[in-house]
């Protein structure tokens, strides 16, 4: 019973949070709502007994991803309202809903009709994290390593892409120098910003 209550509670919260994320005009609201939504999502993982996944969810999303976004938003100066041109919002909603319903239909159809066999059955004798580790480092070792390399590549590329002119430190420069630097560049953030 507790699980049911928890499920409905978190489901409602998640939906609200994500709706805010999608609908709000304020970038800051969106960010905050999403961070909250992410944490609520992890609740489902815990309910489902996927403790490790839940932990990862919190760490990665709220820890890493959200802080990345936060830094990004600082960079873009998104404190002001996000003005967006809207065209035909009803169409958008209908389309999204339709897609969702169809996916459910397709996903449910085989589950309802046939019995699937487990490749890697859940072993109740050991804890979730341990079991995950067992599977991850045996059957999924290669994908895991590939994912690791991918993350590394992503990290490096993120630094390289975003980090140009990082050798200049704005805090150590005089205001004139900064103004000069901005003036020399045609597309400065300020031009677009203000």
């Amino acid at each position: 019973m507790f699980e049911v209550v928890a499920f409905y509670l978190f489901a409602a919260l998640t939906i609200v949070m994500f709706t805010i994320t999608v609908m709000t005009q304020q970038a800051l609201y969106a960010l905050t709502a999403m961070a909250a939504g992410m944490i609520f999502i992890s609740a489902f993982f815990f309910i489902l007994g996927a403790d490790f996944l839940g932990a990862i969810q919190i760490i990665v999303y709220t820890g890493a991803v959200m802080s990345l976004y936060a830094f990004g938003m600082m960079f873009f100066d998104t404190t002001r309202d996000v003005v967006e041109k809207r065209n035909n919002p009803r169409f958008v909603v209908v389309l999204g809903g339709l897609a969702a319903v169809l996916i459910v239909l397709i996903v449910l159809a085989p589950i309802v009709t046939t019995d699937l066999n487990a490749h890697y059955p859940i072993d109740v004798s050991v804890g979730n994290s341990q079991a995950i580790g067992m599977v991850l480092f045996t059957k999924y070792l290669v994908p895991f390593e590939v994912a690791a390399v991918m993350l590394l590549v992503a990290m490096i590329s993120g630094i390289v892409l975003a980090g140009k002119k990082m050798d200049k430190s704005l805090t150590l420069m005089a205001d004139e120098e900064i103004a000069l630097m901005h003036a020399s560049s045609h597309h400065t953030p300020e031009e677009g910003g203000h």
Binding site: I56, L95, A99, L136, L151
Partner: protein, 101 residues
């Protein structure tokens, strides 16, 4: 009342729909990224639920990798976004039309 897989799948679908709506209506690139995160998370919920109800770790494994990919995506995506912003001073989708066919 017992929770079934279908509950989770419906939830997952709802979240996915929200994500899709976001993807379609957002013009700001950063906001678009948020929407994609929602999509990924919606799928993750489904994965974990199936994993649970079928007693199979494969679903969790997938969710795990999806998280990893989402993280990389954000890293690279934000990097590109910053470069773009430095160039043009805008992150509005309607202005990115250099791919016009």
């Amino acid at each position: 009342m017992e929770l079934t897989l279908n509950h989770y799948l419906v939830l997952s679908t709802l979240l996915f729909a929200i994500g899709l709506i976001g993807v379609m209506r957002r013009k700001n690139l950063l906001m678009l990224f948020f929407a994609t995160e929602i999509l990924l998370n919606a799928v993750n919920v489904g994965m974990a639920a199936i994993s649970h109800y079928r007693g199979d770790y494969t679903g969790q494994m997938f969710a795990f990798f999806i998280i990893a990919i989402a993280a990389s995506e954000v890293a690279v995506g934000l990097g590109l976004l910053i470069v773009w912003y430095k160039r043009t001073g805008k992150i509005d989708l309607d202005q990115m039309t250099s791919m016009r066919g």
